[in-house]
Symmetry: C2
């Protein structure tokens, strides 16, 4: 039975890394001593080692070891032994390219479907969807495919941002971009605001955190669902 | 000798479509009666016909005819006859996918290098760079390549947006995204603010409009260049 936490962000404004979700992580990873960290998304271009150090520090306070997947010569084989996985945010194009490069996408998918606890933030949440096509990131590298884990039957838009009222900027709003996505795609999209996450237990997916989420389905007006609601299409 | 206007946006806040740049367009297209419009980027998912109508209306007031490239059975051959081209904004992934699909990228490139006047806004400006990798758009469709026209020796980031001071949103700023681009790419990036455009005359590229532009080079601190400056790396 799938067990996942799919979070919009790692860090809230003025908060520390993973601080807002730590008590949740403690319960979620209760039976896991060592978590494999996937640092491939490299936020702001930091090194895999530097990124792993940040994750290590955050999990130390709840008594968990963290090892970076980048440290192993054979990441595919190493991943197979994982008792829990955390994929951090950064650039989704980079993350997906590396997952394909190291041939770990199908392994990760199998582990998740077998019930290994998976935690993702931002780009690490994006990849749990059917495709990475509702990422907010720049296409800094050309991935072999936009297809991702398909561990949930929809796509995620992390860091979902409401239109800024009174903005004089004429670039597309997030809602306009997702509308563009739906001119060519039928996949529903869950806009997860910062501080929100999805709690996945098998096929039961619950919205958690303080805020509502915005749901986009092709051919429908976008609508809100309240925290605590089940998500299904 | 290349002749291009590469604009950040089509429309300024509270302005009409192309209004702010119309007097410039009148001079730029002085010797062109009919402009071929490439509507493939479909902003917000509008139809090719609806989009072409908007462009047609804007150019009517300066006495120019506009025909949509989508109306022709053989766009590649049709494009070869063009005396001037305008590519409108929208989704860059969609635009680039369609340019490849209809096999018009190399034709367009040849025309530009032969001196045919080319005007682009937003996504239509993005494609004049070496790659489309500094677009702000969502990857709603998987293009065969991120390589674009290479009519200028750098990339464009249109609708360049300065970090919003006091913002509590934890998603990446534009500057962070471009920094991420430079962890894997050496191509310089010109961040064009709304209301700015590049005036290309052969190899001479001048920043126009009221605002400065922000320049990003790999391994350097970003810096500003004033309007009226030449751009060269």
């Amino acid at each position: 039975m799938k067990k996942m936490l799919i979070a919009s962000t790692s860090t809230l404004y003025k908060g520390d890394y993973l601080e807002y979700i730590k008590s949740e992580l403690e319960v979620f990873f209760a039976k896991v001593d060592e978590i494999v960290f996937i640092p491939y998304a490299r936020p702001g271009g930091i090194s895999h080692d530097a990124y792993t150090k940040i994750a290590k520090q955050a999990f130390k306070s709840i008594g968990k070891e963290v090892i970076g997947l980048h440290r192993f010569d054979d990441p595919e084989n190493e991943l197979k032994q994982a008792k829990g996985v955390f994929t951090g945010g950064g650039n989704t194009f980079l993350l997906v390219s590396q997952l394909y490069k190291y041939n770990v996408i199908s392994t990760l998918r199998e582990l998740i479907f077998d019930g290994m606890p998976y935690f993702g933030t931002s780009a690490g949440s994006n990849i749990t969807g059917l495709t990475m096509q509702t990422t907010n990131d720049m296409p800094i590298i050309y991935p072999p495919s936009f297809k991702t884990l398909g561990a949930i039957p929809f796509n995620i838009n992390p860091h979902y941002l409401d239109p800024v009222s009174g903005s004089e900027h004429m670039g597309e709003t997030r809602e306009t971009r997702i509308k563009e996505f739906h001119t060519y795609n039928t996949i529903p999209v869950v806009g997860l605001r910062e501080g929100s996450w999805l709690d996945v237990n098998g096929d039961q997916i619950t919205l958690k955190g303080d805020l509502s989420a915005r749901i986009f389905e092709q051919g429908k007006q976008p609508y809100e669902i309240e925290t605590g609601s089940l998500i299904g299409f």
